[in-house]
Symmetry: C3
């Protein structure tokens, strides 16, 4: 058995490598090197330098946003402060600044006429058709209330919070919002690399942070944004947005190359209109929502003040990714690069074997032929000889044969 | 030095290509082409057509959601409108519709007996054990309040908002929620391609949007969803969910092929039960939360009405990605395809060299042998000759030798 | 035409495979197998076992979080319960527990002096300079209010909610927060595999869930977290955080291998300080926000109680991905593995052709040369012969030639 094992081991440690044909042709050689150069340049410039192919990427950014709005404005002859106009008040990443309100004070549960023209009526019959509808300030009772003294058309009666809201009445929007500032504290973490960053450097002193205003050129790391500046950047009309409301996105983009000092990992800010997709749509312009403040009188009756609030809604959208050198993607791309360099051969072979002078010679040199005949020959001693075609007559002349013959002739 | 440089340049521009053996065998040729065809089909059908291997993908979708609920219902003989039952009121992507409440009115700070059976007691001693516990409506004072007139078991006394909530009492749920509608305005952006889309086309006119209701077949782009329709799709019982609350997800999925017209980039909606994972769990069914409305009496005493609200919580979950033709992934996959086609050779070689008639002949043709002897031979003039084994005796017959010999014999 | 087609078909089904040189050298053979072994080990251990290269990954995790805080504490001699200190109350993934407050009661619209030292004044002139500023409790009227009886410096008068907040006054923080518990219900879904999981198994019975507390070792699946435990893990001082507020992240990480039983897909929890990035920054320590409770007196005057709330803000951050066996990535990596094994040849060729004894012999065997001369020779019958260099004289001796010669000599 020993010889068999030995034989197996010997066979196992045999080294096999491709036999190559070396072509000493300037044209093909130059084309080959040029194509290889292009491929190498592509890998260096695009894959490694631009696409950072040697880096592992962390796209699972984790973040937290804290916001704080400051400013004072007038609405309905009252001074509004943060507790009045910011909803919700906790300083989340999404918040609204109320700039206009339709206020319906002292509503109690009861019956009263509707306010919208859609509910005009002349008989009780008119007030049944919309029974199943969700539009309106209350549930229709089916009665048409007509003030006989004026003989005009009446209004359907509703049950619910009365008096009903009349949203045609509106105050003067709080235009001071233009000067309001939004302070944004954004901290991010790339879990893969365990890198934590904040949107302003620790080195910024407190007095600078308290007085600066974000400016893309002069103060790119100041975390305080003036609402007026954002509106101007988005070409939003202050008059319109304060009256009808709107939705604005503040994007914070982190794209970090952690091969450099982590201090270079800094955010970039840009602003978007969140309703940009609906710009041409006629429906659903602006932004508003309804909320109520509830009160209770001494006798226990609950009453409320309904607010239809037109607001500018801000959403802080944080995105980003980080890259850092890692042997795994580096090796993968390096192997891909080496493999691709070999592809130059495919290209040059096409030229060499088809469009080059002496293509037939190259073919003869590159290809060695063996034909099917072997399968049909069962003659024991002649098999191997018969299996080889007379290669000299084939168009794919065997280069080895030619060499052998030539040498023989030379002898 | 010049000749050296010349030599180096000449060497550099030498072109090297693999020497091939061409086998004229129908069986292997057909297998080879068939395997190649399979690989090509795989790349065309799966990698390019199905997996869109020629496209660059943007998975970092940015989005904003605005919601508006409409509808009127009855609870406790009072008409409830949006300001009453939607929390939070700002129309965010996550909101709750309150359908049932346990209301504990006119609570003031003070002392009173607990309401839950867990706090039954006969002596003060019974009321100390739970001191550190978080269950209960207030902080135990350590006193057991027993109404001596009835001689029954007593209740531990607590300090806190009194009277304590008794959550066994509950009203009739607001079943009108079935007819409520949710309007969803969702705008998305693919930052890589700078494409912005909304969940309903600009072409939809306002009157359609005001009257339509979403239907997967007839109105797939209507952005108004009826709560009853969603519950029905999820096989949720209206009775149960309005009484105990529940959590529902509205998924908006964007999968866009930006090689086609951007107008084809449209959302798909589907609904999920967010608590599906806990379906079999006995703990924590439904959904509820507590909030309070605070009042102040004329003498300055603060009192509140505590609400334990059972609600249907909706979460709008936006996901998606977009693809667009890009030369980089296209080239990578094309190169991968070409490389893979070459793998057919590996498969065919195995057949050819092991299972084919005349395998030995092919081996002889494909493999050319050179042995270790070269390392041991130091004889100057005989080295090259001695280095070559007598190949005729090896099992890996050298094909070139055979050819040479055959030709010689033929001469 | 038939012969042409036949010829084409014959040519098409020709099988082409690389001609190999087999080197029977122990050293190179062993190096070759060793390098191949390293590459195979790398693919098995790293690519397949560690990186799960045979799996398709779903990184688009969809999730929903529901939270519920429990506990009772004292603030300002009043018992605070969930409805008092949790904001927002709906049990969302982001919520705050108020631990300290500056309460300014009974504010009404009017005029009053400022409270901050920044607004000290001696003449009206001092009260104009800050006109455009956003700092302060109201809008400056331009008057300096000086109490002449004391002859001290005065304060600027403001218009707004009066009296102005004086945030130097503060109560005793609610330190009982240490014993509060947070119940987290987190359900996730991997849309690609349609797998839904919850953060606690259905098998946990209700009594366990009601009494357990999360502990990384003993109760890793208990969904109830004690605030004190979290603070201790983060080395946060209870005194500081209850007084000034803070931001804490509760990360829930799902990393699932769906090749195993889905029951093994379980969450891991860890805690982070969300403001860790700003640790060294002097600005913006802690976390606070302002909100107001609005009241109305019998005569209809609105008044409010302003709260500056210092709170611990919790953010539940859910992340994760799942993998499952899929033929596509498996095949891709398998092909990559096979291709890479071939790279051992590149390495061994370098050794063989440059650093090995008898390197010249191997070169002669591996490379077969054909020179440019073919391009210049136009002599019809001598072309093929002339095109072949006298290889015996070249340094890249043709191995085939040597064999032929040797055999001839042996005849």
């Amino acid at each position: 058995m020993a010889p068999k094992v030995l034989h197996f081991v010997t066979d196992f440690f045999v080294y096999e490598t491709a036999k190559s044909v070396v072509v000493k042709s300037w044209s093909v050689g130059i084309i080959n090197r040029f194509v290889q150069l292009l491929i190498i340049l592509y890998f260096i410039c695009w894959v490694f330098l631009h696409e950072k192919g040697h880096q592992q990427r962390d796209t699972g950014i984790e973040y937290a946003v804290m916001t704080k709005v400051k400013g004072l404005g007038y609405f309905n002859n009252r001074v509004m402060d943060v507790a009045d106009y910011v909803v919700p008040s906790q300083g989340a990443s999404s918040f609204s600044i109320i700039t206009n309100m339709v206020i319906t004070a002292n509503q109690t549960q009861g019956s009263c006429p509707e306010t919208d023209e859609k509910f005009n009526c002349t008989t009780d019959h008119d007030c049944n058709k919309n029974n199943s509808s969700n539009i309106g300030n209350g549930i229709l009772t089916g009665t048409c209330l007509i003030d006989n003294s004026t003989n005009s058309t009446g209004m359907c009666e509703i049950e619910g919070w009365c008096p009903a809201e009349d949203d045609n009445v509106s105050g003067t929007p709080m235009k001071e919002v233009e000067n309001f500032t939004i302070f944004i504290k954004n901290s991010i973490r790339f879990p893969l690399f365990d890198v934590t960053r904040g949107n302003f450097p620790s080195s910024l002193n407190q007095s600078y942070i308290k007085t600066c205003t974000y400016d893309p050129v002069r103060h790119p790391f100041c975390p305080i944004f003036k609402v007026g500046h954002i509106l101007k950047q988005l070409n939003q009309s202050l008059d319109y947005i304060t009256k009808r409301g709107g939705e604005i996105g503040i994007n914070i983009n982190w794209k970090c190359n952690l091969d450099y000092d982590v201090e270079n990992c800094k955010p970039k800010y840009f602003f978007t209109r969140l309703d940009a997709a609906f710009e041409n749509s006629k429906a659903s312009k602006g932004y508003n929502f309804r909320f109520a403040k509830y009160y209770q009188s001494e006798d226990g009756t609950e009453y409320r003040t309904l607010h239809k609030a037109y607001a500018i809604r801000f959403e802080i959208i944080v995105s980003g990714n980080a890259g850092k050198f890692n042997t795994v993607p580096f090796l993968i791309n390096l192997v891909a690069a080496f493999t691709s360099v070999g592809l130059a051969t495919v290209f040059c072979d096409i030229i060499l074997l088809n469009f080059h002078k002496g293509a037939d010679e190259y073919k003869a040199k590159k290809f060695e032929e063996v034909s099917e005949i072997v399968q049909e020959s069962n003659r024991p001693y002649q098999g191997s000889q018969a299996s080889i075609k007379a290669l000299g007559k084939s168009s794919n002349d065997s280069g080895t044969f030619s060499i052998g013959r030539q040498e023989l002739e030379g002898v």
